[in-house]
Every structure is written in structure tokens, then in C-alpha cells.
């Protein structure tokens, strides 16, 4: 019969219309379907039915650990009364060399005698240029630059607010642990392992074969092939 396909299609839309209210009813007794973390999780899961939208900014999607936005610099946890601890960055320049749009500018620190100091004097990231690719964090050998989860960076004036300096970029390691706990733990383990391997290497009694294996495992860990 001509028109059956149209009717069938309308059937689908009507079904969807009713389904969009089904969850509202199901969540009535549990405090409503919106502004509720458990409800949000269910809405976003594979079993979710009906309306899947969220009320941003009151509600926010859970952000996975690997989510990457404009990078930040890792420092030690600050001493009481201070905002940052010691920089992890050694100003080696790998991040600025690997950066595809070249948005990282680093001024290497200098000791009084003029020799380079493993610490950045200044560190700038132009976040208008940054393409959030994450290559800097991926190739930093010191875990000193990490991709942030803070994506709400809109401001009224791009000429003053969008070049982030070292002060704006620095965040303590505890912040990184809080946004990416698993990844931070894996990295810490890898660093520890690498350190151990290094000391074992210094110990001359150790078996060379064992050293090599330990070294290889450490590299594996550091370069997160298996872990994160």
C-alpha cells in the first residue's frame, strides 16, 4: 500500500516521542532525571534511551582521564603559604620542538656564571594557536607538561588573556593526581622503576643481563606502551 512507509516512519518518531518521557517517569521517585549524577551516567550509557542531552553548564559530562586540553606545567606540591613548588620542567625544549603549530616559547634559565640552568626562566603557551594535540605531554621525558581538563577558557579579550605565562600554567602535581589518578600512578611507578634500574646499574656486582632486562622494562613503562 502506498504510504505505508511514511506511516511506519511516523511510528518510529511517535515511539521515540514516548520513550523520551519514559525515563522521566522512572526517575521520579529517585529525585528526577536531571541534575543527578547517576541519572546522567545512565542517560549516557549504552542502555540510555530517550533524550540524551545534558544541561550544560549545570550538568557536565564526566571527563575521561585522557581528555586533553591546553597544557599545564607540573610543579612539586607547594610548601605552606606558597602557590607552587619546584618546577619539574628542566627547560630541555623537547615540547617546543615537537609542537606542531609551534605555540610554546621557552626561555632557558641561566646560572649567575652564565651557564644554562635546568629550569625555565619563562614559559609561554599561546592558547589561540595550541591545537590540543597532546604531543608535548606525550614526549616530555620528565612528565613535566601535562594536558589539562579545564576547557572553560573563554575570556573577553584575547590579546591579553590568551598567552599563558609560567604563573598561569603552573599547577601542583596533586592537581594532576586528582584529574588523572590512574595515569599519574602509572607514571609514578614508571619513574620509580627507572630510578631503581639506574641505581642497580651503578652497582657493579649486578648481573649485566638482568640489568638490560630491567632497563628494557623500565623503558617500556616510561613510554607507557602497556600502561597508559
Amino acid at each position: 500500500m502506498y504510504g505505508l512507509g511514511v506511516i511506519k516512519g511516523l511510528g518510529v518518531t511517535i515511539k521515540e516521542f514516548f520513550i523520551s518521557y519514559k525515563d522521566d517517569l522512572a526517575w521520579v521517585g529517585k529525585g528526577g532525571r536531571y541534575y543527578h549524577d547517576d541519572a546522567l551516567l545512565e542517560r549516557q550509557s549504552l542502555q540510555g534511551e530517550g533524550i540524551s542531552t545534558i544541561f550544560y553548564p549545570e550538568e557536565k559530562l564526566p571527563i575521561p582521564e585522557r581528555f586533553r586540553f591546553v597544557p599545564f606545567l607540573v610543579t612539586d606540591d607547594p610548601a605552606p603559604g606558597q602557590r607552587w613548588g619546584h618546577d619539574w620542567c628542566t627547560s630541555c625544549g623537547i615540547c617546543s620542538k615537537v609542537c606542531p603549530p609551534q605555540c610554546i616559547w621557552i626561555e632557558r634559565g641561566k646560572q649567575p656564571n652564565g651557564r644554562p640552568k635546568p629550569e625555565p626562566e619563562k614559559f609561554f603557551i599561546d592558547i589561540d594557536i595550541c591545537m590540543n594535540c597532546g604531543l608535548c605531554a606525550e614526549f616530555c621525558p620528565f612528565d613535566a607538561i601535562k594536558m589539562d581538563h579545564d576547557f572553560e577558557l573563554a575570556s573577553y579579550d584575547r590579546t591579553t588573556a590568551h598567552i599563558h605565562d609560567k604563573e598561569r600554567l603552573s599547577k601542583p602535581i596533586s592537581y594532576w593526581r586528582s584529574i588523572a589518578p590512574k595515569k599519574a600512578a602509572a607514571e609514578a611507578a614508571a619513574r620509580e622503576f627507572a630510578e631503581e634500574a639506574k641505581t642497580r646499574k651503578k652497582n657493579k656486582d649486578a648481573d649485566a643481563e638482568e640489568d638490560r632486562i630491567a632497563d628494557a622494562i623500565a623503558r617500556q613503562l616510561v613510554y607507557r606502551g602497556k600502561l597508559y
Binding site: 606542531p100 621557552i106 594535540c133 604531543l135 606525550e138 607507557r224 606502551g225
Partner: protein, 606 residues
């Protein structure tokens, strides 16, 4: 296969037994044109160098007699050191599959004239215009040789090695100013707005020296009387560049007789950023995130094609687990893209938003998976040379990742497709709008270098995953989706079929992923400072959701930047037959025809 080769004598005679179609074609070409052809003897290069005057003849023999009838890619190359320009043609055989016959034509840099291949392959039209625009090769006999990506009146040819952009800082990245004493510079401070335009010396613009539109409109003038009884007049109308339903900033200059289309010329380049020039400044690894931005709906496939090309150049091995992850990502991307394409096609046909939004929900789920794995929903930057950047995450939304994937491909996606079938496939309005509209015959589809669902919707069963397998696709069981009517509706059906085939592939891939858990995803230590181990060229191509996506990369030994980096963009080349497909249709159908090609302007304009 391994059993057969092991029984062969080991004196190299196995080569004599297995002659690939492209080898055979090269051999007969050499016999036929002993004077016009020379082998490309440069280190790491392949193919034949053809004398310009016999190019047409060689191409005709190749296409008509030897069966190499699909002109995949035309690339212009600036051989600055030899003071030469080169056009590179990659030509494939639709019926035999397999690798390419590569033809090259070299010409003088100061007076670069090469015969156009449009008489044999009308699909060369846009690609030759691109090579003319970017490199400056004049194609003699081309019907409409104008700039295509840059604007008319643009001075110079930007992909020549001696052309410098207004914000020029350095020849290659990384730029020296970034480290160790970085002083922040904004490009706009170095080149103040209004002062960043270069005019040819001695040229004072008055505004009336060149009417940029005249050429397009003249090309469309058709010597046909208006319908006498109706007293109608032909009108040239610009459709675009900014109708929301036209998928981006894309313009069609259309000549109309009433509502009927008599001629059409696409105008593109509004999003042009010279991706290829940026790519030649970049180091190899820096290009990966840039490829995300080509076709921003299918960034995983773009990554895939680029790393394949560079792995060919570097002779790199890929770990097993990485191969399976790549296929998983590529197929999920295909599903994503086709859901989007179908949703938008329906949008173009007047089913405003509803089916599109139903499909978006599924697409969002897949993007959630990309976000958890690669860190970004669309700009994935996921693949690396030799592998992928990260292993799969342990869980997603509190569920084990493999269970989540199982649930997705076993239950969730098939249910949605079933519902979509109810909503769309049998719908009389869709059938009335789609069947018989925008017809493209199989011969034309091949001649116009169409690829992907556009080609397969016209009855040509050519899928690179089958015809020229890459990665682990040869170990997987799937059918090449093909439909035979060559109209909008069949292109829709091909996309639906392909989603089903992708689900079939995914069902086979997930067990392999479970099996290889814990395996390395990159061989050895990931490197950022890669240098080409040899001189040479490589062309890597994949069956991207929109068609054949190819990357042509050449490099010099020990260089960290590609010396030529070319993208064979399926959206761009699939637009070549648009004028032909929309001929004699009504304006309302035009939007549907464009939607059925499925373009993304980020890739068209590059």
C-alpha cells in the same frame, strides 16, 4: 599463500611466476613505447617517466588496452634543484585491483606545459586545476584551466619551493626562536593587518582590472534557445556559499532554465589554508594532528592513511595489536561518518533534523569511546608511525571496555539501524526524492575518478580494503557493498550496507583485541625526531569513509621534513562529477545530490 611460496625454488624464479598486473602493464608499455618512456631511476622512486608529447597516447593505451582505467591521483611536484616541475599520476586497475602504475611527466620550470589528461579521464579536471593553482603546471587542452583553491588574481603558485607566505618565519619547523630564549611573537604583530598583503612589483590596484567572475559565467553559457512557447530566459544563479544545507562554505554557480539545471560549476577554496605547504614545513610527526583537520568527521581514517604512507617510506613494521586497534578505529569512524552522512542526506531532502538527531545519539557513543581512548572526540591524533599512541582504556562509563564494545556492536548499533530502516528505507517520500535522481553511470564514475560510496553506488565493486589490502584487512571477512542504480537512493543504501559490513568486521576484530591484550602498541620507544632513512617517495591510501584517501609523501635522506606532501582528498575529487550528475535536474534535487556525495569542506579546500 605461505605454503605455495615455500615449495618454490629459492633462486628468485618465484618472481617470474607471480607477475603483478602493474608489472605486466609496465612491461607492455615499455615494449610499445621504447622511445617515449624511461624508468624512474632515482633512488626510492618507482614508475615511468613519460615524454610530455606522448603522455596522451601512453595514457590511452594504459586505460583502453591494459585495463588501468582509474586515475586516482594527480600530483604536482616542484623539483627545485633540477629546475623542473613534475606531474605524478597514480593509475589503478578497477577490474584487477592491486598496485598503481605511476607515470611521471617532467617539464621545464620556467615554461611548464604538460598535456591534459581530461580527454581520457574527465576526473582529472579538478586535480589538474589544483596542480596548476598550486605548482603552476599549465595543462594544454584542459577545458577550464583556472585557479581552484586560491582566489582568482592570486599571485604566484604557493607550493613552489621559492614561494613564501606572508607570515613566513622559517623554512622548516621547529622554528629557532622558540627555545632556548623564547620571545613570544604573534604573527599579527609581525605582519600587521592590512600590511600583510603582497602585490606584484609596480602593480597599483584600481579595482577594475579583472572581473573574477566573468570566466565562470562564460564557461556556463549554453548556446540553446530559450523554450520558445514559454518565453523563458536562462539565468545564472549562485547557490551558496553559505546555505546551511550545503555542508559548509561551498558555492555552486548554476545556469537555470526555469527550475532546470543546464550547467553547474562548483567554486571552492573558502576554507583553503594550504595544508600541503604547512605539511612541507612540518616534521613528519607534526603532520598527524594536522591530518585530523582535513575531514574532521573521520580523523582516525586520515591518521591511518598518513601513517601508512610514512611507514612505507620508512620501511616500518607495525605491531599486531596496533593493527587491530587501527582497524577498530577505522571501522568505528566509518560508522560515525555514514550515520552523519545519512542524517545529513535526509536533512537535505527535507526530513529536517529528525533522523539526523537519532543517528547523532549513536555517533556520540562512538565519540565517547574515542575521547576515552585518544583524548579527543574529533581531533583524535591517535596513530603513530609503527602503531598507535595509546592502548585501549580499561573501562568506559564504569564498564569493561571490551564488554562495552561488544554491547555496542552486538545490540545497540543493529537496533538503531533497524529503526533507521523503518524510518527511511521504505519511506515513499525518500524513494520519490531519491530513485533516479543524480544518476552516474559506472563508466562515468570510473572516468570521473569517483571513489567510495559514490563509485560503489554506481555498480562498481571497488573497495581498497579488498582491491589493494592494507593493514590486516586481508584476514577479515566482509563483503564489498555495491548497488547498481547510481542514484541518490542507492548511495544511501550503499552507506547502510557498509555500516552493516563494518559491524561485521568489528565483531571479528574484538576477539583479536581481547587476545592481544597487553601487547605493545608501538614497536620500541616512540620517537619525535624522525628522519627519513632514505630518499624516496611513497603513496599510502586507505578506503576512507568518503572514498579513497591517499597521501603522497617524498623525502630526502636524513631530512626530518617531507619535501613533498600531497593529499588525494576524496571529497574534493568526488565533486568532479557533480555538474554531470545534476544536469537536467531541478534545483531542489541539487541539494540532495550534493548531500549524496557526502563532502566535508575541510577536506575539499585543504
Amino acid at each position: 599463500m605461505t605454503e605455495v611460496t615455500s615449495t618454490l625454488p629459492s633462486d628468485g624464479s618465484e618472481q617470474a611466476l607471480f607477475i603483478s598486473p602493474e608489472e605486466e602493464a609496465l612491461k607492455s608499455l615499455r615494449q610499445k613505447f621504447p622511445d617515449a618512456l624511461t624508468d624512474d631511476n632515482r633512488d626510492g622512486y618507482e614508475g615511468l617517466i613519460v615524454a610530455p608529447e606522448s603522455l596522451l597516447e601512453v595514457a590511452r593505451v594504459l586505460s583502453d588496452d591494459l585495463g588501468f582505467n582509474f586515475l586516482s591521483s594527480v600530483t604536482g611536484v616542484d623539483l627545485f634543484d633540477d629546475n623542473k616541475l613534475e606531474a605524478v599520476y597514480h593509475i589503478y586497475s578497477i577490474s584487477n585491483g592491486g598496485g598503481a602504475v605511476v607515470l611521471k611527466v617532467q617539464t621545464d620550470r620556467d615554461n611548464p606545459v604538460v598535456p591534459s589528461l581530461t580527454p581520457i579521464w574527465p576526473g582529472a579536471e579538478f586535480q589538474e586545476r589544483e596542480a596548476y593553482d598550486m605548482i603552476g603546471i599549465e595543462f594544454a587542452g584542459h577545458p577550464d584551466l583556472r585557479r581552484i583553491l586560491t582566489w582568482d588574481g592570486f599571485h604566484g603558485h604557493p607550493l613552489r619551493k621559492d614561494w613564501k607566505e606572508p607570515f613566513f618565519e622559517d623554512e622548516d619547523k621547529p622554528f629557532g626562536s622558540r627555545w632556548p630564549d623564547g620571545n613570544v611573537i604573534r604573527a599579527e604583530e609581525k605582519n600587521v593587518y592590512g600590511m600583510n598583503v603582497q602585490y606584484p612589483p609596480g602593480w597599483v590596484p584600481t579595482g577594475d582590472e579583472y572581473d573574477v567572475e566573468t570566466d565562470i559565467y562564460q564557461g556556463l553559457t549554453i548556446s540553446r534557445e530559450a523554450t520558445p512557447s514559454m518565453k523563458t530566459e536562462k539565468v545564472t544563479v549562485n547557490i551558496g556559499p553559505q546555505h546551511p544545507s550545503t555542508h559548509g562554505v561551498f558555492r555552486m554557480v548554476v545556469t537555470l532554465d526555469g527550475e532546470t539545471i543546464l550547467g553547474l560549476k562548483p567554486v571552492m577554496g573558502y576554507l583553503h589554508r594550504n595544508h600541503e605547504k604547512i605539511g612541507e614545513r612540518n616534521t613528519f610527526i607534526m603532520n598527524i594532528p594536522y591530518t585530523d583537520r582535513l575531514d574532521y568527521l573521520t580523523s582516525m581514517s586520515n591518521n591511518f592513511a598518513y601513517v601508512l604512507a610514512v611507514e612505507k617510506l620508512f620501511d616500518m613494521e607495525v605491531t599486531e595489536r596496533a593493527q587491530w586497534i587501527r582497524i577498530l578505529m577505522a571501522e568505528l569512524t566509518r560508522i560515525c561518518n555514514h550515520l552523519w552522512a545519512i542524517g545529513f542526506l535526509l536533512n537535505d531532502l527535507g526530513a529536517l533534523q529528525t533522523p539526523m538527531l537519532y543517528y547523532y545519539i549513536e555517533r556520540e557513543l562512538i565519540l565517547d569511546f574515542f575521547e576515552a581512548t585518544a583524548g579527543s572526540r574529533m581531533m583524535c591524533n591517535f596513530m603513530r608511525f609503527g602503531g598507535v599512541a595509546y592502548d585501549l582504556p580499561d573501562d568506559l562509563r564504569g564498564k569493561n571496555i571490551y564488554d562495552w564494545l561488544d554491547e555496542l556492536v552486538e545490540n545497540r548499533l543493529p537496533a538503531t539501524l533497524e529503526e533507521g530502516n523503518d524510518l527511511i528505507t521504505g519511506n515513499e517520500i525518500v524513494i520519490a526524492r531519491g530513485v533516479g535522481v543524480g544518476y552516474l553511470s559506472p563508466e562515468d564514475a570510473i572516468a570521473y575518478s569517483a571513489s567510495g560510496p559514490l563509485l560503489r553506488g554506481s555498480g562498481v565493486a571497488y573497495d581498497i580494503r579488498r582491491a589493494d589490502p592494507y593493514s590486516f584487512y586481508e584476514h577479515l571477512d566482509f563483503d564489498v557493498a555495491v548497488r547498481y542504480n547510481g542514484d541518490i537512493f542507492d548511495r544511501y543504501l550503499v552507506r547502510m550496507d557498509e555500516i552493516y559490513q563494518s559491524i561485521r568486521i568489528l565483531k571479528q576484530v574484538i576477539p583479536y583485541l581481547r587476545e592481544t591484550q597487553g601487547g605493545p602498541v608501538v614497536p620500541g620507544k616512540p620517537q619525535y625526531a624522525l628522519r627519513a632513512p632514505r630518499d624516496g617517495e611513497a603513496y599510502g591510501r586507505v578506503e576512507a569513509p568518503k572514498g579513497e584517501l591517499g597521501f603522497y609523501v617524498t623525502a630526502k635522506r636524513r631530512d626530518s621534513n617531507p619535501s613533498r606532501y600531497h593529499v588525494r582528498a576524496p571529497s574534493f575529487i568526488n565533486l568532479t562529477p557533480l555538474g554531470k550528475m545534476s544536469l537536467r535536474h531541478k534545483v531542489a534535487d541539487l541539494v540532495g545530490i550534493l548531500g549524496s556525495i557526502d563532502i566535508v569542506l575541510g577536506e575539499v579546500d585543504r
